[in-house]
Symmetry: C2
Subunit: 397 residues, 2 copies
């Protein structure tokens, strides 16, 4: 008997490979951007780089332009000598235009820079592969409204949210009882409070499993990163914070889980490698025939551990979930205060355990705005940076 | 913002609850049948028992008839006093007619009794909730052809196959790289070969996790049950045996997994309780709003273990997978020889470790028929019972 279309298959894939999908990589010189280009490099008949945007790593951007010959490019700051001459057929463009002039933009920029291109693409009805945390944390309600208004679609790239997303394929949103985000516990999961107060920036940057930037690595050690992910999950999967939980799982093999109304739990697993969720987000609704990462060997791994995060030792997780529950401008204030505090920690100005103190003090001084528009969000962000800086200086003094 | 239909939801559920679904429970007095009635009892506005069929437990069947007042009933043997008078509106009917005169039949009979109703329902375009192993092991190719010809659908009830099925919702069959069946390892997973040779039927019937019948409990201890599940998986998910693997997992929390072409792995988890897969199979494509079993608490469980099954100590697994790979009449011969051997073991005639010896010897004497029709399957089954009985007597002598 030949291969049959079983009733399990519900006809998403029509069997014909059309034109390569045009991808815009915003944040192409960062960790996610570079790994996205790896994925695209491996599947040249499926994906094509139509646009690249980067910050100030002009040298690397120039090499990427030479390799991929995109139609559109953008960068921050004055052009370095490397970018003085662009190849024929390559032109500069704004990042919002870029996000529309492609089949799928990958938003892998850090911070607020990803917000406007995300909104533009969603309003234009595009699917957006989103790797930027701040966009959803600061302005999740605005992003979601743009998605609904424009008919766009959000495809998570974070390994945790990609896991939840994959578990929801073929399921109904109303059947979600809980989304369970797994957390490795960060670099300091086994330290007590006194040890946490003494950790150095160098220690914080030594993450056990993932290789990431400095800010996100500190956020990972403080569990603020996981806290932000709970807020992202609210907006990505349209669930209240009451339905979001965090489970400690040190091996980072189970990337997250969903519990459904009937009690069934689904999980997505894999070796920790960002190229898989990147490829999923770009290729959806197809699964590509080649794995971008090593295969998982569960029998060889042997043991998986699960536990409950300690919110007393890691107050950032609790603060983020409270800000998410509160809504309005509170998540933006929380994220801005965290950014200030983390860089002050990295600069050696404050202790690791001062980070949640700065955030908490900033949140307490804030008077929230309900359903804020973009201006109100940005205003709250700016206000929080000032307040957090002043609190951090006080903590230092 | 109210609940939005996110692009993750793909509109299976139209929100209106129509008539209760009419369920025929074939094998209603067995373990699966009784648990199915539990599920139906909890959801009276969703499910209705329209038919009950049982074997020789006439007393229990009579009580079930009095409670559920089905339109159709069937039983084996002469009617006991309990069944002398049926309620008004209840009549006897053949099991094949019964399987067609309902919205969804649940085939929870043991052995070959489930085959004809399954084929009849599939040919009539019905969805069939199938809990009967032998049907797919003996005649998977015939069942699959009936499904394709009639436009019916198979919904697995076994916890492992239900897990794989749930992981495949929203996925494409061609994207399956491997299905990974988990195995608790059975009651004797930690015994060496000498200890295995000495186990008693009483020991074999003491399964660590699931409460099942005698035959399936011995099959579970010998890993023959898992072997049969690999063959069922081939037919349920239209994959060759090369894509089926078994992973040891003693906690029975991860019910099975699927690895996709891109390397992503999905798993379904839950406390071991057959009511969840039963409810899934009856309710599909909906998920009911109430869990039929206790909730899973992964953090409280703490640790999950995985490993590789030892085919040297448990040759039944290897024999079943070989029979499945060989196809034709070999799986039917293997299943028949196993049934004979298990009952001889339960009767104290042969040792536990003689079970695979009897099966192996029977398979070796068999000359397979490719793509056998039902008569050829039943002929092979009868032949194998005779040969296995003779081999078992030799093993005993």
């Amino acid at each position: 008997m030949g291969p049959l279309l079983s009733p399990l298959s519900r006809g998403r894939y029509d069997g014909c490979v059309s034109q390569p999908l045009g991808v815009a990589v915003l944040g192409s010189t960062g960790s996610i951007g570079r790994q996205a280009l790896d994925v695209i490099r491996q599947l040249p008949d499926r994906f094509e780089v139509v646009a690249l945007a980067a910050g100030r790593n002009h040298e690397l951007l120039a090499r990427q332009i030479a390799e991929f010959r995109p139609r559109f490019v953008a960068w921050e700051g004055d052009a370095a000598p490397a970018l003085a001459t662009l190849p024929d057929g390559t032109q500069t463009i704004g990042t919002e235009e870029m996000a529309i002039a492609c089949d799928v933009p990958l938003i892998a920029t850090a911070g607020a820079a990803g917000l406007m291109p995300t909104l533009a693409a969603l309003r234009a009805g595009k699917p957006v592969a989103i790797a930027n945390k701040e966009v959803l944390v600061m302005a999740g309600h605005i992003v979601r409204k743009a998605m609904v208004d424009g008919g766009g679609e959000l495809r998570p790239v974070d390994s945790e949210h990609s896991a939840i997303w994959q578990c929801l394929w073929g399921e109904e949103g109303h059947a979600i009882r809980r989304v369970l985000l797994t957390a490795s516990g960060g670099a300091f999961r086994d330290l007590d409070e006194a040890q946490l107060a003494a950790v150095t920036p160098e220690q914080a940057l030594n993450h056990p499993t993932w290789n990431m930037g400095a800010k996100i690595t500190v956020d990972s050690a403080s569990l603020m990163n996981k806290g932000m992910e709970t807020i992202e999950a609210m907006w990505l999967f349209d669930v209240p914070m009451e339905k979001v939980e965090v489970v400690l799982h040190r091996e980072s093999i189970v990337h997250s889980l969903v519990e459904f109304s009937d009690g069934s739990v689904k999980a997505q697993l894999g070796v920790p490698d960002m190229r898989l969720p990147i490829q999923c987000a770009l290729a959806y609704p197809e699964r590509m025939p080649t794995p971008p990462a090593p295969a998982l060997d569960l029998a060889k791994l042997g043991t998986l551990h699960f536990g409950t995060p300690d919110m007393a030792r890691f107050p950032c997780l609790r603060l983020a979930m409270e800000a998410g529950r509160e809504g309005g401008t509170y998540p933006a204030v929380m994220a801005a205060a965290d950014e200030v505090a983390v860089y002050r920690f990295l600069d050696g100005d404050i202790r690791f355990t001062d980070i949640p103190i700065v955030i908490d003090a900033t949140l307490r001084r804030h008077t929230g705005v309900a359903d804020p528009d973009l201006d109100a969000v940005l205003e709250a962000d700016a206000w929080a940076r000032q307040v957090a800086a002043s609190v951090a200086t006080g903590a230092h003094a």
